[in-house]
């Protein structure tokens, strides 16, 4: 009934299909597990159902091959990508690479200042998008019913924003934050621009998460005359926490991958930033610069890409750990 159930059913469906349970039903299951040749013998035995069984078995087998093949292809592409990047970049990777500044336009040296800038930009983006996005999601999920005009307009504009190319955000951020608000090329301007870009995605995912919290909890809370604030902070938000975290992780992923929006806003100065008002070069910008503008920069680009992938995995893992930790803490009280 709840959205959660629905998601789970979806998730187990391919497995069911692969085993042929979805198609053949319980009575046909055992023969379907018999190897192909033996199933044929069954048919020779003259049992009328054996022919049918054999056909169902073949269809199952085909479905299994298609499903497994598709999954294998996806895994294979990912492995290939990782191997290609690692092959070219691993040689450059070391602790010194992570801490020293780049030299000779990035052909040698490390990525220390770039890593710091990246984390600062990411921090600004995440803090501001959670600060704005979480209340917005609460508004959409709890205080605007699906039909009301205000909710509909906010939702529609978010969907448009979510599909906007990032370069448009770059131009917008440059015009608003860098020029109008006088932040110039700075980490702050870059982070805020990224926040604008991540917000639509984060808000919609957080809203979905809040909506998926069973209505029974809201009814129970109302019947116990818990105030809306208590209901929200003690029951709804903890229950929606995994969805909020998932939204945040997707947002982080999008922000880390961003190049176009940052070139116009946080700039590409590769010095160590002294404050949020300094310009800073993000990892993705660094990779773009090395592979496009610097001849002989491919090794550095691949090593930086490896660091970027590692950073992404670490942030994902960290968020997942924090979520379980916080949940366990809140649920015990």
């Amino acid at each position: 009934m709840s959205r959660k159930d629905h998601g789970m059913r979806k998730r187990i469906m391919p497995a069911e299909h692969a085993e042929g349970r979805g198609r053949s039903g319980p009575t046909l299951r055992r023969p379907a597990a018999v190897p192909y040749g033996q199933a044929r013998q069954l048919r020779d035995g003259g049992e009328p159902s054996a022919v049918l069984l054999n056909r169902a078995f073949r269809a199952d087998r085909l479905a299994a091959v298609v499903v497994w093949g598709a999954a294998g292809l996806v895994a294979g592409v990912f492995a290939w990508l990782l191997a290609a990047v690692a092959f070219q970049g691993a040689a450059r990777l070391s602790l010194a690479f992570l801490t020293t500044p780049p030299a000779d336009a990035g052909r040698s040296g490390g990525i220390g200042p770039i890593l710091v800038s990246t984390l600062l930009i990411l921090g600004v983006a995440m803090v501001s998008s959670v600060a704005v996005g979480a209340p917005a999601a609460v508004f959409l999920a709890e205080f605007s019913h699906a039909g009301t005009r205000s909710g509909r307009w906010v939702r529609r504009s978010l969907d448009v924003l979510a599909g906007m190319p990032s370069i448009v955000f770059g131009l917008f951020g440059n015009a608003l934050f860098c020029k109008l608000l006088g932040l110039r090329f700075s980490i702050l301007a870059g982070g805020l621009t990224l926040a604008c870009m991540v917000l639509p995605l984060f808000i919609r995912l957080a809203e979905e998460g809040l909506r998926a919290v069973p209505t029974e909890y809201r009814q129970a809370a109302a019947a116990l005359s818990l105030s809306p604030t208590t209901t929200l902070f003690r029951i709804l938000l903890p229950a929606a926490l995994p969805a909020l975290a998932a939204g945040l992780v997707l947002g982080i992923g999008r922000a880390l991958a961003e190049t176009a929006a940052l070139v116009f806003t946080s700039g590409y100065v590769d010095r160590m930033p002294e404050s949020l008002h300094d310009s800073g070069r993000a990892l993705s910008v660094h990779i773009y610069d090395l592979s496009m503008n610097v001849s002989g920069g491919d090794g550095g680009a691949c090593a930086s890409a490896l660091v970027l992938i590692g950073l992404l995995l670490a942030l994902n893992g960290g968020t997942a750990w924090l979520t379980t930790h916080w949940r366990r803490k809140t649920y015990r009280v």
Binding site: L224, P238, Y331
Partner: protein, 256 residues
């Protein structure tokens, strides 16, 4: 028997988005008794129940007209203090709905919300759990998640949670329909124990249960696409000597 009922509905009409769901209900609920609301699905029993603690406010497009009073309080007054009112009127739902937190926190949260002192809360929690016969079963695992309890235990936890706020009226919306016969028996005993201390209004589809529990009964029916009240009175009259043909048919298991 009881001249002035605790809850009195006069010409109560409920509609959802302009569609009439329950028409012109006039009837009273006596204090300290168990009143059973019976009738086929979709005839407005739960809607009526939800009016009593204004849970109807949560449903967009729901409109309630007529008059509904609890003691001297006008329950349909838009300025009614809902938080205070819902403390007076507790509710148990069809499906057990403990919060996805620990057993202790399920009881602690409403108590703290309503200003119960920190030292007093553990005592109140224990008293409520004893009241519903759950204390011996959970005393060693108060910090276990409430959702790890069995369905019957969860429902009793919901009873304890509702009782912890010391309400006057307890609304029960098919409290046993999601439970097995044994748990149902335990809940029924509990309901009978609460008789006298609380005013109970029970919606049920189980006629045998209504006979076992109720002091008074009301039969709701569906006429021209909207629910209405067909017959009400002491349980013995309604169940053993029904006046209306619908009641007779319903009690014998015929469709109207």
């Amino acid at each position: 028997m009881n001249p002035s009922p605790l809850i009195q509905a006069e010409g109560l009409r409920i509609s959802y988005g302009g569609r009439l769901a329950l028409r012109d209900v006039t009837f009273g609920v006596a204090a300290g008794r168990i009143t059973a609301l019976v009738g086929p699905s979709g005839c407005g029993k739960t809607s009526f129940l939800n009016c009593l603690n204004r849970l109807t406010d949560l449903i967009p497009g729901c409109r309630v007209e007529g008059s509904l009073r609890l003691d001297e309080t006008d329950l349909l007054d838009p300025r009614l203090d809902l938080l205070a009112h819902r403390r007076r009127v507790g509710m148990i739902f069809q499906r057990p709905n403990p919060f996805p937190i620990s057993i202790r926190a399920n009881l602690d949260l409403p108590l703290r919300e309503h200003g119960c002192a920190r030292e007093e809360r553990p005592l109140r929690i224990e008293a409520c759990l004893r009241d519903v016969g759950l204390w011996e079963e959970v005393r060693d695992r108060l910090d276990a998640p409430a959702l790890a309890l069995s369905g019957g235990q969860q429902q009793r936890l919901c009873f304890a949670r509702a009782l912890s706020l010391q309400p006057e009226v307890l609304l029960l919306d098919e409290p046993c329909s999601a439970l097995d016969p044994l748990s149902t028996g335990v809940i029924e005993e509990l309901i009978l124990r609460l008789r006298g201390r609380y005013t109970l209004v029970v919606v049920t589809h189980n006629l045998a249960q209504a006979r076992r529990l109720a002091d008074a009964a009301a039969l709701f029916w569906l006429r021209d696409g909207a629910g209405c009240l067909v017959e009400h009175g002491p349980a013995s009259h309604v169940f053993d000597a029904p006046r209306e043909p619908e009641t007779r048919d319903y009690l014998r298991g015929y469709r109207g």
